[in-house]
Structure formats: structure tokens, C-alpha cells
């Protein structure tokens, strides 16, 4: 089928310092990923088109972008899911550096803010694993799936307005530890998030959950964190 592809272009170096769109008519298979279309353009039409990608099957988090106005991974959206007219744009709310490439530093800085690591130096005497029941493990399973793709954070109205808001991804990663029975720094993380720039910046707009390619219940995780704070 013939696909009409509109791609956002921006490259200050090449004089394209105003965002514009390039359009291509591409012969595509309904099973093709949007990433395949971009690869086609880059390989055979215009090599200067830039975007990030690696795994090509939705597990590395490189290629989150706006596809027909909604955040998704280009490698997880098939042509047949979006139809003949496809528009791709960079994530909203992070500075655009070139074409689909945005500056991810603010995103990772927010991630680092919430102490995204296990705090617990007690090791069982026999040197083996700490025990954790399947139920305790299940408590935070959902939020361990995050691949830090930023699709959620950049779909959030609170983040668009205020990039100091840590964003859903950071809260998801805090949640992963707060509810891990082995961790000892839950309260510290709750205190970090106990603010407008933390969990209370969330207005339950739910875009994050709809955008998450890992189908994490993002809003639910945020609600659980809020509850833990006010409890």
C-alpha cells in the first residue's frame, strides 16, 4: 500500500532552523513498522534524517516519538495500526536537537533525582538471596518494566508547562523501589516526591498511561505514591 509520510525536520546546522515537514510517498507493507519507513527514508532517500533507534522491537526505549500526534515507539507501531497518512514529530517538551532527536538529559536528571536504586546493605548471613514472597514481588512488578523511553513524561500536560516536574517516568521508577519489600529508603523517596515538582504535579490527565509502550499502569503507580505520602 502507498503511505503518505510526513516527517518533522529541524537542523540548525543545515540552515533548517525552523521546524518544517518533509513528505514522502512510500510503498509499504501493512505489517511494516513506522521505524521501517524511517529506515527506508534514511537509507535510500535522505541520509541526513536523524532519529534514535536500536532494538527495533520495543524494549530499548530509543525511538519514542509522536506518531500521528500521540507518543509511541516507532518500532512498535505498525502501518496497519495507523493508516495511510502518517505524521512523525519529536517528543514534546524536551528541547529538539535535530529532527526527531531531543535532549534527553533533563529526563534522566529527573530520573536520578528520585534515588532509583536499591538501598539495603543487609545481606543474609549465608550469602544467599534475601527472601521475598511472590506476593511481595508482585507488589511492584508493574513498575519494573519501565524502559525509560520518556513517552509518558513528554505526553504529560504538567510536564509541558513545567519541566521541573519530575514526570511520570521518574515517579514510576521511584514506585518500583518504594514498594519493594527489600528496600530501606522508601520514606526518603516519598519525601522527595512530596511536592508540586513531585507526585503532586500530576493532575491525572492519564496521557502517560495511554502512551506507555510497556503498558505500565502509570497513573495508578502515581496514585499509590500519593497515597503513601499522605497516609
Amino acid at each position: 500500500m502507498l503511505v503518505y509520510l510526513r516527517i518533522f525536520r529541524y537542523n540548525p546546522e543545515a540552515g533548517r532552523n525552523k521546524p518544517t515537514f518533509d513528505t514522502y510517498n512510500i510503498q509499504a507493507d501493512p505489517d511494516d513498522r513506522v521505524l521501517d519507513l524511517l529506515e527506508h527514508v534514511k537509507s535510500y532517500v535522505d541520509g541526513s534524517l536523524s532519529y534514535r533507534r536500536s532494538c527495533a522491537h520495543g524494549v530499548c526505549g530509543s525511538d519514542a516519538m509522536r506518531i500521528n500526534g500521540q507518543n509511541a515507539l516507532a518500532c512498535k507501531v505498525l502501518v496497519k495500526d495507523v493508516g495511510r497518512e502518517i505524521t512523525v514529530e519529536p517528543l514534546l517538551g524536551l528541547p529538539v536537537l535535530k529532527d526527531m532527536i531531543v535532549d534527553m538529559e533533563p529526563f534522566f536528571a529527573s530520573y536520578r533525582k528520585v534515588m532509583p536504586f536499591m538501598v539495603n546493605d543487609d545481606i543474609p548471613e549465608d550469602g544467599r538471596e534475601r527472601l521475598q514472597s511472590p506476593e511481595e514481588r508482585a507488589r511492584f512488578d508493574d513498575t519494573t518494566k519501565c524502559i525509560l523511553c520518556a513517552a509518558c513524561t513528554t505526553s504529560c500536560p504538567s510536564f509541558w508547562a513545567d519541566d521541573e516536574y519530575v514526570g511520570p517516568a521518574a515517579i514510576v521508577n521511584a514506585h518500583r523501589f518504594i514498594f519493594d519489600s527489600r528496600d530501606h529508603a522508601g520514606d526518603e523517596r516519598l519525601n522527595i516526591l512530596n511536592d508540586r515538582e513531585g507526585a503532586f504535579g500530576c493532575r491525572t490527565a492519564f496521557n502517560c498511561t495511554s502512551a506507555c509502550p510497556r503498558e505500565i499502569h502509570v497513573t495508578r503507580a502515581i496514585a499509590e505514591v500519593k497515597q503513601a505520602i499522605v497516609a
Partner: protein, 122 residues
């Protein structure tokens, strides 16, 4: 988990918005239902207001309505504003301004409510 999580303005505000909101359902809806829908502006004049406030029950009702609705709404406005006003100092300034505005309007409303309408001067 032993809780050592501090209360912050935002965490209290979060609870406040929810619980006050729930309370506002009867408060605001009954008010709107009676005044706007059933009675209607054409039937409302200063005598009507005077009559209503002569009843201590309605006076109290309107006082709670004023207190809860306006505080809820002003905090809501603060939340929206803070989306767009960044930086500690600017936010502080806005908070103070909003607070003063809230206090002023609340006082005006309360005085009117307590002292009652003066149809004889109309």
C-alpha cells in the same frame, strides 16, 4: 514502613481539593439548583436576599458555601498558575497575592453575609 513523611503544603492541598470537592457537591449543587434553576435571576432581588439571610440556617449554609467553594477554587487557581509561573520567588509572590485576594474577597463576602442585606437603602 514506619512513616516519617512530612506534611507539605502540596500534600495537604491534594487532600483538601478532594475532600472539599466532595463536600461541594451538595453545597454548590443545591445552591445552584435553587437559585439558578428553580428560582431564577428574574425572581431574585435584594428583598429575596434579605429574606433568605434572615434565616440563620441559610446564612450558615451560605457561609460554608463561601468558605469551601472559594478556598477550593483559589487553590485550584494557584495550581493552574504554578504550572506556568516557575521559580521560587515568582511563585512566592503569586502565593502572597492570591492569599491577599482570597482574604479580601472572603472578608467582604463574610461581612455582607453577617450584616445582611439592606433593602431599605436600595
Amino acid at each position: 514502613m514506619t512513616q516519617k513523611v512530612q506534611k507539605t503544603y502540596e500534600s495537604v492541598a491534594w487532600k483538601w481539593m478532594r475532600y472539599s470537592g466532595i463536600l461541594l457537591i451538595p453545597l454548590a449543587w443545591i445552591h445552584v439548583l435553587i437559585q439558578d434553576v428553580i428560582v431564577g435571576v428574574h425572581a431574585i432581588d435584594i428583598d429575596y436576599v434579605a429574606l433568605r439571610w434572615a434565616n440563620i440556617g441559610w446564612q450558615a449554609y451560605d457561609f460554608f458555601l463561601l468558605a469551601f467553594t472559594f478556598a477550593h477554587g483559589m487553590n485550584g487557581l494557584r495550581q493552574v498558575l504554578f504550572d506556568f509561573v516557575h521559580g521560587e520567588r515568582a511563585r512566592k509572590a503569586w502565593s502572597v497575592a492570591l492569599f491577599i485576594f482570597w482574604l479580601l474577597v472572603s472578608i467582604i463576602g463574610t461581612i455582607a453575609l453577617v450584616k445582611g442585606a439592606r433593602p431599605e437603602l436600595a
